[in-house]
Amino acid sequence: MANVSLWNSKRGTASPSVGRVHQLVARLAWGDAVGNQVRYLRDLLRGWGFASEIYADQWDESCRDQVRPAHDYPREADADSALLIHHSFESRLVPIVARSKGRKALLYHNVTPARFFEGSDRHVARGCTVAREELRALRDHVTHAWAYSHFSAEELTAAGYRDASVLPFAVDWNAFNVPADPALRAQMEDGCANILFVGRTVPSKRLEDVLRVFTAYQRLYQPRSRLLVAGTLSNSAPYDASVLALREQLGPERVVFLGRVDSAQLSACFASATAYLSMSRHEGFGVPLLEAMYRGVPVVAYGAAAVPETMGGAGVTTLTDDPVEVAGLLAVLERDAALRARVVDAQRERLAPLDQETVARRVREALTPFLEGRAPAREKRGPDGPTVVCPGFETAPDAPMSRLARAVVDRLPGARLWTVRRQVMPLQLAPKEARSDGAAVWHFTPDEPASREGQDVPPSSSLETAVCCATGPVLFAGADEEVARRTVTRLHSRTVAGGVWETRRAPDEGVRLALGARLWELSPGADVDALATDVAQALEAGGRTHAR
């Protein structure tokens, strides 16, 4: 019965089962991953006997017949309705969700970190930041939450979603069985080795790295080669202009920007491709990687975000972005026929568990508790204990900052230490508490692999989200890290925050202003234990003030 009161409160009115399961998406586009997934789920839900419509705030002209205006949903929904909310960018749909009746669940596709757009597109950068704020705001309105990768599910967990789990991503394989455009195919199959990249030209896709790798490949291994880029590229965006300029600066031959292509042209691209290359720094899932696997094209991909998980051990995932070394991988796939055949075979095996029937069954299994109105058990969440954020703790546990972080945790009862994992793994797991010599340590997944020689810890979106959601005192060790810069002004208004910085790495002005007097310097040769005692006392005092 305890659950019923919760169920009937902010999360909508309970109903044991539903006949209507609708979907809400900010924009329904034709051909993008989110739009395809929304249409797939609608068909699936209708096939299961539910009435299902798509509600959107904006849509492509070609999708007009498939969509209803989002602002109609609160009026049309009743206690028996169920709503699946797709979230991938700023939507401004939280108020609509809040005032809609019925049960609601979140499907998280991931949001590109704002840092990729800063300096090139401030509107998109702002949209990404707002989207993460909306992710936190949606938490209070939904009963269930799913993500399309473990990487994204980790962020849901970090944002405070209980029992966030992974929903299998459905790919319509039949859509890839389109005959190739004969003219384009004949043009491409002229004896050149074709390297293919498919995707939007946005900074997170790192098209400039694709150009560098291809230049190295052409100059060092295969002069008769061509780079095919299928995706819109215009000269009216700063990033696109910089990509076109880089092509001029590097001077590779036969770089073809195809722009937006239709299905037949895309088939021709894949049919003539020697290898598929992705240097993307952020993918919530990565459909083109699977498409390349399906079409028998060996994939070389940089192992950032959910890419290693999407690849699932198939293809070649590289943890280095050195263009010369990645070019070697392209060369070896072109020249070593036996190796290439084994890669393609492994890729086909990777796709076996993703066939339509299996995915549909797994989607139904995952959605059943929501469709049947079974709310997950929810324990009341108490106030957070103190949190010490030390991204470099796992990478360099003996560094002075790591020792200080550990010493502060030891001095504060109930404190936990948050750090960033050193290694990228094929399957990312939600952050879980691990004990390290008695201290509670949480390991968050980095957004991309650590550089070989660099001392800097790569950023982690999950860690940043978790810090923004922390309600207890927070200590940044160190205050110069990116996580401090990005979150210090976005903490809860009543959160007590402090920071420690090393002499050689001073925090920037924004962090200094936000932390004020709770900023300590860790100078070389300083007494770490004495400083840890001071810091712990200050945080404890701040926390008590907060608790009163």
Partner: protein, 177 residues
């Protein structure tokens, strides 16, 4: 490439690195030249700040909020300023709505100017790199050319005509400027 830099189950990372070792080794000077080229074209991510010449316009782009101008008149002046401030305070929502399109236009025109500035900056950079590349190649060609001997000089043309002989590469016009 090291095996630990790869994730692959079949073939294994070790098998791929072994196959990489079978590749013909690229010439070290070609690799060095490439790496230098990559370093030269590697732009540091620009800060979120605007080009300096747009800073002034950026500060003034939001026309909705502005303090009332001060007045030099001793008694009436402050009263007028206060009245204007009170007016703004009371009618700010209407002012916001009236100037909303203007603010949107200001932001759009600033974005367009910033884009043009970015284009010019990128173009200038490309030109610089291209010129450096051309000069470097000219120097390499100079170094490869055999030294000219007096016997190798082309026969001189009749007086009054241009000899037609190309100037020596080492004294190219470009570098002579």
């Amino acid at each position: 490439m090291r095996a630990e830099d790869l994730i692959s189950t079949r073939p294994t990372a070790e098998e791929i690195t072994e196959s990489l070792r079978q590749l013909p080794t690229p010439r070290p000077d070609a690799v060095d030249a490439l790496r230098q080229r990559f370093a030269a074209t590697h732009e540091k991510p620009s800060a979120a700040s605007w080009p300096p010449f747009l800073e002034g316009a950026r500060i003034k782009r939001d026309a909705r909020y502005a303090d009332a101008p001060s007045s030099h008149r001793p008694v009436v002046g402050p009263a007028l300023v206060m009245a204007k401030r009170a007016f703004r305070l009371a009618f700010q929502p209407f002012i916001n709505e009236a100037l909303r399109r203007q603010v949107e236009f200001n932001e759009a025109i600033l974005d367009a100017l910033a884009l043009i500035h970015e284009h010019q900056r990128v173009h200038a950079r490309t030109q610089t790199l291209w010129r450096q590349e051309v000069e470097k190649r000219l120097e390499q060609l100079d170094a490869q050319m055999p030294p000219k001997t007096p016997e190798a000089e082309p026969p001189t043309k009749p007086s009054g005509e241009d000899t037609g002989a190309e100037p020596a590469r080492g004294k190219s016009r470009r570098r002579g400027r």
